[in-house]
Structure formats: structure tokens, C-alpha cells
Symmetry: D2
Subunit: 432 residues, 4 copies
């Protein structure tokens, strides 16, 4: 045990506590026939909590952790020790990483890969001991300067090759650790200016790369989900995986809609002009909802703020869509959330996650109660009841002319009916 | 001749004029082997110029035209007389309409359809006489209260039927007038709140409706393009045809990507978080670029301002993408632009269009010069030259492992090369 | 009694009700020593609920109320009858109007004024009978085409005169009805384009107009608050009363910061890039917080959506700032909120307001509990405790050099301390 | 001479050049009676061109300059050598710096100050030799972790003291080098969350700090302008110097409106929801226009992209407002612009600045021609001509009642007149 978190004990469920405890998250509480923990499947993001040093575009590191500077395998292991201590304190069942979060880059690809092997070997017993599993692994193909013009979509084929090698090594490591998903976020797969960009070529490269990734997963018997994480922009001006609808079109174009799903983040949804629940509902309808990143953006900021969730009604609407999709299978609720840069202390890390977990627990329980209550569903079904008649079904499979003919024959003049939005919002407010 | 435009004569090309004339648009100028008029294929939007009365969400009509109120077929014909006078003054080859722009709604569908027949019969000789053609027709399925919850996506199947009848009548009229395209803008095909919305069902309705429209066009031998006009929102909170990428995914889902293209508007692109040229370039790469609405949004306003284009460098980048796509075939440059509400006078209508036409002429000529110069293309090709080698091509059709193996075998360490964005922007500035 | 609201009875407080009732708003509940009703001082906006017909920029009226068309004094009185029936059902203590909401425009200014007199005379006994008071009156100087280029800031001095006459008549009527505030929202006091705008001149006109308004209020003994309602834009491209900070600078420039306060709306704050609580906190610090419009904007829409509040945690943070300012004196909580256009039914009007009142009640009670708990205040004070020392105070009243000298003399190297944002957010979540 | 820029010679004015040359900027060209160089007063920003290493929130340094790492005085001098070589190549008359750009931070404040003295002593002869002057100096009080919670507005008075010492040292150095302005950008003077913020106290601290700065400038006889640079947010959630209107209110509150002006940046204007020309026009009307940062933001990105200007019509409208304000006195045109992160090569630095200078030259010349032409001014004056009558002037200095009385007496019914926006935009397009 390090002394980083000093004497902070694993958190308990204690609704009346004003200290470090869960006031709403009781892992073993049964909701809709399932443990709350099994619904939520919480995961900590290694990068924000352990690799990010507190810098922003206008200022340097603020955190000064004992494992800084992060250029040494010894300190990478100390970082891992502390990370698992945090997982234990938070009693989270999962965590996630990029290769670059967990091991320093080597002088060559081979050395980087060796280090990845070494650190994931170091993780193995810790996972065993704590029971913490890997929700997903992924490759950081945006931080190093080699990726500045993209990874799979780079104008330089050698960078494509390097990306291939990197994804291979990360998927190998994910499989080794029993990861349940493999995620691709294309932070540099887009462009800064169309003037220097061959968009057609780059999209083909991206499509091929994704196919190669899917093929490799099959070949090695990786049975987790492969997920794309949409984001519209930042750091690029335009990112090819803009939002759920865009990713769906891309998957269809390359025939991969049955192989790849999405990992949806609230902050990315907001940046793309959508509500979180929209992206979740759309992914559900398209059959590609895989997992979520539960971190909010500040509505008044135009960049990715990656804050811990704190608004229960919003989170409830998100989990409502997740539950309507049947809940998570291999996916989960990853906190892709970072401390505010001024939150320097180890206790801030614990409090931030605990608060986020409580907010999610409240949200999910509210969503479950809404579904069990059934009023929303009944009202929604009633609104479309006309479509359940045979005449309507037959019209839908018919043609324009016959539908038109009926309008004239019957002198149809359909009258609008109230959409009841405020009533429905009031109903939601009974539960949140 | 009415006296609405008083003694305004058809505009001539006169670069030194300070009055009403084209200073840059010479219809007969040859650019890249084609008349400027044939490149640009200008079109006036009937709705903004003749049906909109100058209201906005906070105020009523300001225009007080002689054809107001627009509830009478006699005044509809007066409006048509004046519209064709404007087309003649502007020497535009095309115009566009919604049914609701050109005839008052009747007391029944049949009466509405009859009036549509009557007014389009009235248009025929005028088109003959002036040589002005119909770029596209479309149905207004968003203005009347019956459409408040959608047309094809309405919870009430009778509204779907009414929409079918409406599209049928508008496509019939479009064909009768020799229209070169038929456009669908789904202004109410989306939702106000997910709480009352069955998104899956609504998307299926939309897909079927589009298929029925395509089928009907074939049946009657309409050989124009069928175009969807993407817009992310407004009036709805979310519109299903969000942007080009979303429409593409939708077309792929319903197997219509070979039948339907897009009509792209700058203002809608902006609202969706994209540059106009992005949407154009993407549609080109996806093979679905059909036509454009050339009207800008104010970058500081969050709603559709539909202003006449006035920024030549921006317009040049748009036409650059259009030219790279091979230019328009059946599509054109429609001014889906409205006067500012304070621009009350008939002369404002003429000046606004003339100014927009000049801006487009300058933009298109600049774009052509850029392409003929070829520097941008050469630099872009050079950037991707590495992908032209056999090794690179073979890697692209290979697998992850062989690419990875080469990285280790050769100790690859690809070095970044300058993307040259500022140099490229300087080159563009030579031409605009 | 009309039969508009049929048999809807005045709403009661009934936490377990699933029908039309208040589940959280108990007017007589005591919070921080005051009745909840006296804290919240709810007000209904006449315009959205009774004058707006359900149109939007892409569609016409949907509502079809019995008092339509609104061009007749008889129907204006029917509208008033129904409005007061709604106030009685909702048990709200206040309402608000623009002149244009309550009487049809006359053929001359004199006739319009006479009608205003007539309808406000009609209101008097109704207010007496129901006990409903006027929170504020205001003039609609943006709807009619005469205002299209501004009211006080119009290029035409006759319009300025017309605006003066209009404000005089509205303030007279407000005083007659015992209104507690008079509000100015300058919906057209701004510009569409700088190219035709003499901003210096227009700002001077606005300053003089405000001074004249203040002088007139004093002269007639109107002892209510005079309030400016900031909004950044829409319908104009730029509105001079952009946000609280801008209004403050304007008041300082014209020496009116002691005479005029602000009426802050959540939706307008959002459009200006601020959180609602920011605008409230700033107004409090500047001593100009007057009243609030409690209606949210959709965060994903770029125009004023004027929706009923439905997010308790957000509303709690707003009332937290109001309570920290000492609560309302003459101000109140006005629902400047409109039904969604699809919410056609009379019951929607009742349900929307009742839901909003419940959300506000929950928010205010949560805010009061936060303040009574005091943890947030204690932590905030502790953060600034260093400034309470004599040395710090003396430095603050000293000069740059002596502060600088101490840095070198003492070798100061101040160390950052955690800002505790997540912990504070967790504390808020205990109460909301 | 270092070999960083290899054999790049100082740029000449050569309109036909396709290489490194000015195609539009002829320093000695006379415009409105003044040399173009004296109008534009170009300045290079030391930070973006020499201190920024090419990182962004998702990736590390890309540039790898010979003066990296920047932790050594020797390399700081090499950086200075190269910077002045660039100034010579670009023939710019000015440059700007923060203390942190030009010298590495020392182990103590005293060492940091000594290094500032040393490097500015090193600059002196270079400025003499090249004729390049200092447009402004400023202090970086946002990068180091000590500033994470603000400088003057910090909860810790020791940080305020450190800020005082820092500003004193930077103003001393600015004066020593003959700087013409001293700028304050409060990048951390704002808040991340209101929950931990005492806004009233922080605003008072900021007001006092500014007064102390003004006092110190007077004391040491610094006769340059003192400028605040507004920005709405980023890195903070809210920055106290939000925009020009906010800064004006702040100056009025603290009685400093005669002492301090603003340095306006296009990118910051955009982030605040304004056009650049709006901020310039407003500052002109308020008498506080000091200087400009000429760098654009990408309209589709929600953060500060600090790109070189490339749109001539936009730049022309900005310089039109500057010229209407009488042009710069001590201010100038600073390129607070950075290379795109992928623009790695030294030649990119030269090309980017040269392109920006050409765009500004075109813009300023267009603006001058517009003013000399006078049509815009004539049309604007004509629009307000009614206000030049004695009756109108007397109304403006009168009261509400007499204006109102005239409306009724004369039966006034003012008719709207066209605002001519499109015609005015066409006129602008004659010149750009």
C-alpha cells in the first residue's frame, strides 16, 4: 500500500453520511431484477485520473503526483499500484486504458510494445486480487507528433503501418487482460483544412483499417465488442466519426454495421449539437449501442470539458434510453471524466468519482422506476395507435397513388392532436 | 406588365456601373469551356421573394405587397406576373417553388390540388415566353397546422396519407412544368421531445415514404433528380435529415443511395456545425451531390438567417468543391435567400439577387482559376504520393499483422511533414 | 365562467396526486421564515399563454382559441375572462402583460390608448375579485412594422415619439393597476447590420429614452421598479442590452445605475453564453437584481425556446443566487414560457404552469436548505480567509511597489490549494 | 546569423511573385495620406511563433525547434536571435511578448526578474539594429500552476502580491524597451465554478489591481496605453473581461474609463458571440479602442484557434471601423496568431505572416477606398437625417409627455423605410 490516499478506506453505502461514502449507490440493490452494479458496470478512465497532469491550453501541470515525470517504468508501476488502490476504494468493477497512459513510450516501436507487455503483466495479478476487470483497452494514436496528421488516415503510409502495429499490440493486450471491449477514438482521423486533404482517400483508408481491425479480432478470438467513439471535432476541425448517425453511414458504406458498435459520450454528443439521450436512442434504433462515457460537458463551453456527471435528471434520461435498449451487455458506464485542474488533492479524485457514481445510481433508479411505472410508454404507444390498424399498415406497404386516392375519396382533413410535451415532462419529474 | 418594379429594365453586364447591373456576372463568359450561366444555373426561390411577408418570431409582416393577402387565386396570378417580371429583370434561367407559395390552400385537398393545377397552367406560357425553367418543385409540408407533428413521420397515418397525396400532386406539377429536380425538405420530420417520440417507427415511415416517392417518380417517368435537403434542426429540436453524412446513412439503410441525392444549403451546413465546403466535399465523395442552396447564415446567429451570399472567398471555396465534383448536371444555384425584413422596396429584391449573382460569379471564376492553375491539386497529390507505391497499396489490401510486422522489422519511425495550411491559404488568396 | 377550462378546479397541494395538483408547491409552507408563495411570487405571462397563437418561423397558428382572431375588443374581454380563470386555477398571485397582448391595435395611437384604458378598466375588478396582482406591465415595441428599425433607437424621430407615447400609456396603465414593476425589453433596440447603423447616435437615443422613462415614473409617482431585460440578439443580430454586464455599463454611462435594475431570463442568459446563475450572481454583486423570467432554453437550439423550467438542480442554483441576494422585494418569478406548439389543449396550459411551479418550489426549497446548512458558505469563506488579515487588507489598499517588495523580501512562492469543485458539487447534490 | 531560416531573404513587395514576397503589402504606399506601414503597424507575437511548441489538449509538441527545451538562458538568447531574424525578414515594425515567452522562469521571483532584465538587455541592441520596436509587453499570469485560481483575483493574497511584483517587473521592462502599450489579459481572472467563488470580492480585487497598475505606470512615467484584452472564457468557464461592453462597465465602476483602453481580438469577439467589427465599433463609440489582435477563429470551432487572417472582406470591415476611429495612435495590428500544429517548417512561419500581412493590406486599402468613396457614410447619414431637425433635437432633450402629446396631436403614424442592407452589402463588395 502506498500512502497516496492515506487512510481513505473503501467506500460504503451510507445514505446519511456527509463524508466519503455512497449516499445512493448500493452495489447490491436490486433494480429491475438485476444488481445495481450489474446495471451500471462502472469504469474508471486511467488517462484522466492517472496520466493527465492538470495542464490545459493556457497552463502547465498542476497536479505534481509522486509518479511524475511519467517517463520511467518504475514510476509507471507505482502509478498502477495507486490506480488499483483507487479502484479498491471506489469498489468499481472496471477500468479502461490507452497504451500511452500505462507505459512510457519507448525508443522504438518494439520497446514500446515490450513495455506494454510488461505493464499489462504487472496489471494481471492486481486485477485478479482486486476483482477489477478491464472494460476496454484502446490505443492512443493522437498524442505523439507522429500522429499529427492522422493515424489510419495519414498521408504517409508508414504512419498507417505504425497505427496497424499499435492497434495490434493494444488488442493483444486487451485480450490478454480479458477486456470486454476494444475502442477506437479517431482523435486525429479528420482534417484541419480541406485544402490539403483528400477526403475520399482518407475515408477509404479508415474503412480498410477498421476492416483489418475487425478481421484481426476474429483471428485472435477476441470476443469483446469493437466500438467506435464518435466526436465531431477537437482536436481536429472535423473528425470523420462525427456522431452516431455519421458512424452508422460509415459502417454501412464499408459493410461493418454488424461488426462494430458505438461508445457514446455525453460531451461529444453536446459538441455535435445533440442531447446525450438522442445519441443513445438513435444508436439503439440502429442496433449499434455498445457502451457509454458518462461525463458531461459544460453547456456554455465549446470544447470537451470532461466533467463528472452531476445532474440527476439528465442522467436519468440517458439511462432511460440505455434501459430501453435492454441495458449493457459487454458495455458499461465509463467515467471519461477528469478532475478540474484546480482539484489537486488525492481526496478530490475519490470524491469526484463517488459523487459521479451516486448521480448515476440516482439516475438509473429513476429511469427504472419510470419504465416500471409505464405511463410514458403507454402515452407514447397511444400516440401512434393509429398505425396499428390494418389499413395503416397496408398503406405503409403500398404506394403513393393509393394513399393519395384515399385522401380525395374520403375528403380527409386530419386534425392535429396535442403532443403533450409538458405533461410528459411533468411525469418525468415525478421520478427524478 | 405590372408597375411593381416600375421602370427597372433587365440587368446588363456592366463592370463599371454603380447602378443596377451585373458587375461580374456575364452570362455568356466562357469559363472552363462552358458559359458562366451554364455553370451557375441560377434560380430564384419563389417563397422568400414572393410568399414571405416579412414577419419574424417577434413581429408581423413588413412588406405589404400588392398581392397580399395571399388567399385569393386572382392575387396568386398577380404574384406570378410580378415574379416572372423579376426573373426577366434578373435574367435567371430557373426558379423554384413549394405548392403553398404559388396557390392559396383550398378548403379541401381536392381544391388545393385543383388550384395547383390552375396556377401551374398559368405558369406554363410564362415559362415558355421568358425561357425561365423550373429548377425544382417541392411540397410545403410544414406550414399548415396539420403538419405540426410531421408529415411522413406523423403519429397519425391520415397525415401520412395527406403527405402522400401532397407529394404526388407536387411531383405531377413539377413534371408538367419540366422541373429538373424534386426536393424534399423535412422541416417537421424530426421531434420536439424524445418523450413522445417513437424514433424507430418514425424513421421507418420516413424510409417507406421516400421509397414510395422514388417509385412514383419512376412510374410517371419523371427523370429529374430526387433530392433531400439536410438541416439539423429548426423548427424542430431535431430533424432526421441532420446533415449530408446522416442522409447518406439513411439512404444506405433503405437502399436508396443510388436513387436520391442531396440539395445542400450553406446555412444548414453552418447550423449542423460544418463549413459549406465540407458538406459539398463529403457529398461529392459519397456520390450524392445534387444541387445547392446558396444562402449564408450569420455566423453569430443560431437560427437560419437565409441571407444572400456576400463573401467571395467563402463562395469560391464552395464552387471549388462543386467544380471538383464535375459541376452541376440537373442541379443549380438556388438563392434560398430572403431580403432582410427591413428591406421593403421592390428595388431591394432586384439588388439583393443581383449582388448575390455577382458574388457567385466572382466565386465561381476564382474557383475555376484555382483549378486551372492546379497548384493546390499538385500539392495535395504530393502529400499523398506515398500511397501510390505498390508497397502501400498492398499494405492497404492486406492485414494488420503484416503491416505490424514491417514496423518492427524495419524499425519504422515515421517523421511528420508540414501540412502547409498557411501556404495553401495564401495560394487561395491569389485567386479570390 | 367560460367553459374553456371545462371543469378544471383550482389546483391543490397534494403530493401524492397523479392528476392536476401541486406535488411540491404548498403556497403556505414556511421556508426561511417566509411563505413559499411570498418567496416565489409566481406570475403568468399573458403573451405566451393568451396572445401567441402557436406559430413559428416555419408554420402558422396551431391553437385556434375561442378568442381568435384577436382583432376585436369583445374577444379581448373573453380572453381576459379566460386568463383570470386560469390565474384562479393556478392560484398565482401575479401576471404580466404587454399592451399588444391585451387589446387589439387601434387605427390610431389614440384609439390604441383608449382600448388600453378600456381593457385595463376591465381587468381592475377581476384583479380585485381574484386577488391577482400585476407583477409588471410593458410595451410591445417590436411586433408592429413601425418598430422594425427600433423604437427609441429608430432612425426616424417620429418613431421615437411614438415609443414615448407608448411607454407613457403603458406606464400609466401599469400604475393604474398597481403594477409592482415596469419592464423594458428592447427587442428591436439593436441592429441588423452595422453598415446602416450609427451606433453612437442610437445608444444616445436609448440613454435619453431611459432617462425620460425614469423621470416620468417619478413624476406620476410610480413607485415600482424599472427593469431592463437583457437579451443578446434575436430578433436583431445584436441587441444593445446584451447581458447584465452590458446593461450595467450602459446604466453607468447614463448615470442610471441607481434607478434601473434588470429582469433576468434564463433563456437570454444562455443565448449570451452565460449560465442563469452567473447573470443572477453578477446582478446581485452590482446591486441591480430586480426580477426573473423563469423559462429555460433548449441547450441545443440557438434561438429563444421559452420552455417551462423542468430541471430542478438548475433551478435550485438560480434560486440560491436569488436568496443570497435577499430574495425578491418587488420582483418575482415570471413564467415567460410558452407551450410547445403541439400542446394544443387547454389542459396543457394548466399542466405546464403547474409543473413549472412545482419545479420552482423544489428548487427554492433546495436552495434554502443549502443556505441553512451553510456548508457551501463556510467553504467559500475559508477559501478567501487569507484576505481577512490586516496585512492582506493593507496590501489591497496599497500600491504595486510595496506588494512587489514583499515578494522579494520574503521570497514568496505561493502554493496552489485545491478548489474543491467536485466536492462542492457533491454537496449541492445532497440538497437537490 | 543563425541558419534557422536558411537563405530566406527579407521579403519585398512584388505583386507578381508566386514565391515569398508581399503581393499586396507595400509598406511605403500612401493611403489616406499615410504610409501603409504607419496605418497597419504590424507586430509579431513572440509567444505563438517562438514559445509555443505545437501542443494541443490532445497532443504534445510537434515543432522541435533548436531553442528547445526552453529552460535555459543560452537558448533563450538563441531564440531571440532567430526571432529578430524573422522580424527582419518580415520587415515588421513591432513585436510583443509576455515575460514567460522570452526568459525561462527562475527558482525564485528575484531570479525570474533578473532573467527578464538580462534578456531585455539583450533585446535592446537588436531592436536598435533592426529598428523593430516593442508594441506591447505583458505578463504571463496564467501558465504557471501558482496562477491556477487567478492572479489579481486569487483567493490567496500572496498570489495577488506575486502578481503585483510580476506586473511591476514587466511594466519596468516594457518601459525600458520603449514599449508603446502595456496589455493585461486576465486568462485566469474569472472562475471555474460559482460554487467556490466570491465574485464580489474578486471583482474588487481586480479593480484595485488595475488602479495600482495605472498608478504605477504614472509614477514611473510610462506614457504608453494601458490595455485590457477582453475574452469571454477559455481557459476559465467565465472570464471577468468578457467583451468590450463588460470591460467598459468595469472601468466605469472603478473610475478608470479615462485611463485604460482595450486590445480587441477577432477570435475573442467571436467566442463572445460578436462580430469583430461590432467590438471595434463599440469600443470606438465608448472611446476605448486601443489596439487589435488580428487573428481569426474558425467559426465552427468553440475554442480559440488563433489563426492567421485570410478573409479579405472580413478584414476590410474591421479596418473600416479602425479607420472610422481615426486609426491607430499607439496601437497596432498584432498577429496573435499561431501556425497550425502541422505547419512544422521555418518557412511556414514566414509564409503565414506574409500572407496575413497581405490580407491586412488588402483589407485596409479596401476600407480606405470605401471611406474615400463616401457612399456608405452618405447613406447612413441620410437614414438619420430626421434627427438633425430642431424639433427632433428638442424632443430628445425633452420629456416623455411632450413627445407623447405630439403623437396624439398630430395623429402620427410613422411609416417604415427600407434599411437597404443588401444594397449596402453590394456597395461594400465593390471595394473588397
Amino acid at each position: 500500500m502506498t500512502d497516496f490516499f492515506k487512510d481513505i478506506e473503501p467506500l460504503n453505502y451510507d445514505p446519511s453520511s456527509e463524508g466519503l461514502a455512497f449516499r445512493h449507490y448500493d452495489a447490491d440493490e436490486t433494480v429491475m431484477g438485476k444488481r445495481l452494479a450489474d446495471h451500471l458496470r462502472f469504469s474508471v478512465a486511467y488517462w484522466h485520473s492517472f496520466a493527465w497532469e492538470g495542464g490545459d491550453p493556457f497552463g502547465g501541470a498542476t497536479f505534481e503526483r509522486p509518479w511524475h515525470p511519467q517517463d520511467d517504468m518504475g514510476r509507471a508501476k507505482m502509478k498502477a499500484d495507486i490506480a488499483f488502490e483507487m479502484f479498491r476504494i471506489l469498489r468499481v468493477p472496471f477500468y479502461c486504458w490507452h497504451d500511452a497512459d500505462i507505459r512510457p513510450e519507448g525508443d522504438s516501436f518494439a520497446e514500446s510494445r515490450d513495455r506494454l507487455d510488461e505493464i499489462t503483466d504487472y496489471f494481471g495479478p492486481k486485477m485478479e486480487e482486486t476483482g477489477v476487470n478491464l472494460l476496454w483497452g484502446t490505443a492512443n494514436m493522437f498524442g505523439h507528433r507522429r500522429w499529427m496528421s492522422g493515424a489510419a488516415t495519414n498521408p504517409d503510409p508508414d504512419v498507417f503501418a505504425y497505427a496497424a502495429a499499435t492497434v495490434k499490440s493494444c488488442m493483444d493486450a486487451t485480450k490478454k487482460l480479458g477486456g470486454q471491449n476494444y475502442v477506437l477514438w479517431g482523435g486525429r482521423e479528420g482534417y484541419e483544412t480541406l485544402l490539403n486533404t483528400d477526403m475520399g482517400r482518407e475515408r477509404q483508408q479508415a474503412g480498410r483499417f477498421l476492416q483489418m481491425t475487425v478481421d484481426y479480432a476474429k483471428k485472435i478470438g477476441f470476443d469483446g465488442q469493437i466500438l467506435i467513439e464518435p466526436k465531431p471535432q477537437e482536436p481536429t476541425k472535423h473528425q470523420y466519426d462525427y456522431d452516431v448517425a455519421t458512424v452508422y453511414g460509415f459502417l454501412k458504406e464499408f459493410g461493418l454495421e454488424g461488426e462494430v458498435k458505438v461508445n457514446i459520450e455525453q460531451g461529444h454528443a453536446i459538441l455535435a449539437g445533440h442531447s446525450f439521450e438522442h445519441e443513445l436512442a438513435l444508436a439503439r434504433e440502429l442496433g449499434i449501442l455498445g457502451s457509454i462515457d458518462m461525463n458531461r460537458n459544460d453547456y456554455q463551453s465549446g470544447w470537451d470539458t470532461d466533467q463528472f456527471p452531476n445532474n440527476v435528471p439528465e442522467v436519468a434520461l440517458a439511462f432511460y434510453e440505455v434501459l430501453r435498449a435492454g441495458g449493457f451487455t459487454k458495455g458499461g458506464t465509463n467515467f471519461d471524466a477528469k478532475l478540474r485542474r484546480q482539484s489537486l488533492d488525492p481526496v478530490d479524485l475519490i470524491a469526484a468519482h463517488a459523487g459521479g457514481m451516486d448521480v448515476c445510481a440516482r439516475g438509473l433508479k429513476a429511469a427504472a422506476t419510470m419504465l416500471e411505472d409505464g405511463t410514458l410508454e403507454k402515452m407514447r404507444d397511444a400516440r401512434y395507435a393509429g398505425w396499428e390498424t390494418d389499413a395503416a399498415k397496408s398503406m405503409l406497404s403500398g404506394d403513393l397513388e393509393s394513399a393519395a386516392a384515399r385522401v380525395e375519396a374520403e375528403g380527409l382533413d386530419p386534425q392535429p392532436r396535442s403532443g403533450r410535451q409538458e405533461v410528459l415532462e411533468n411525469i418525468v419529474n415525478r421520478f427524478v
